[in-house]
Symmetry: C2
Subunit: 148 residues, 2 copies
Amino acid sequence: MTKNKDFWRRIESALNVIGGKWKLLIVIALKDGTQRYSDISHKFPEISERMLVKQLREMEHDGIIIRTVYPVVPAKVEYSLTQSGEKLIPVLKILGLWSLIYLGSEVIGEDLSGPVEVDSTKLNQLIEDIDGILKDVHTKLNRKEDPV
Amino acid sequence: MTKNKDFWRRIESALNVIGGKWKLLIVIALKDGTQRYSDISHKFPEISERMLVKQLREMEHDGIIIRTVYPVVPAKVEYSLTQSGEKLIPVLKILGLWSLIYLGSEVIGEDLSGPVEVDSTKLNQLIEDIDGILKDVHTKLNRKEDPV
DNA sequence: CTGTATCCTTCCAGATACTG
DNA sequence: CAGTATCTGGAAGGATACAG
């Protein structure tokens, strides 16, 4: 059994990987597929070039995005989520639902207090995605036990 | 339907609420029940008093912890998780599992690369907790539709 | 187009001393 | 016991100019 303390340190790491002011935005930019540097930059002009490059490098190092360079002139570089990055999406969505239900609107910023509905189909999809992750947990960590 | 952009801003809020260097530690300190100020401080001596107070105040404002003052001398103040805070725990665990499976050990810090097992019972408990949250989503947001 | 390099400012966090 | 007040250094982050 993983020691409890170790496990909470894992959570800490996860928060470091997606925390900070900009990384979530980059995930959002890439969640629907590959984007060029300029696409991301244009999508979120608030991020300065300096910061964008820095965050992209860190996320690449953490293994949640991939950087592909095309040796052409003018330069062309594409970014996309790795599998780890893709798997992060449903986890973030859970976090969003938690926020939606349990966090007061004052905390969020007032303007999104309007009525909210949730698409049951998407919710079911989300459950399946989470199940997929838990399956991965099982196969990756308990290979020695009998497979479910 | 919640607008997509709004929903991602919810996620951002959630990350703000638990992000930073210290807040997760406070959640950990409180996850097994009420603790006094000095208990927390003693449990994590790395947190300076200045920071501890600051983080506690923010978390209180965000509604994930509660502060109870007993008017006695010497002063006695207790902190505990609110319901929102409690519900956060399983969400964080999912995040930890993601980290455990998809994040390389180089990212985490080398020393916890040892063999890992996962307790199936706890995993099932986790699934139930998440289901509970999704149920809350449904009841809170789609009251007008027919209940499932 | 996709970045680097440099400078400059602001803000955060640690240390320390003090209080009801 | 449970904090506040103040000082200070360093890191994070913005603006701008330049390069392959």
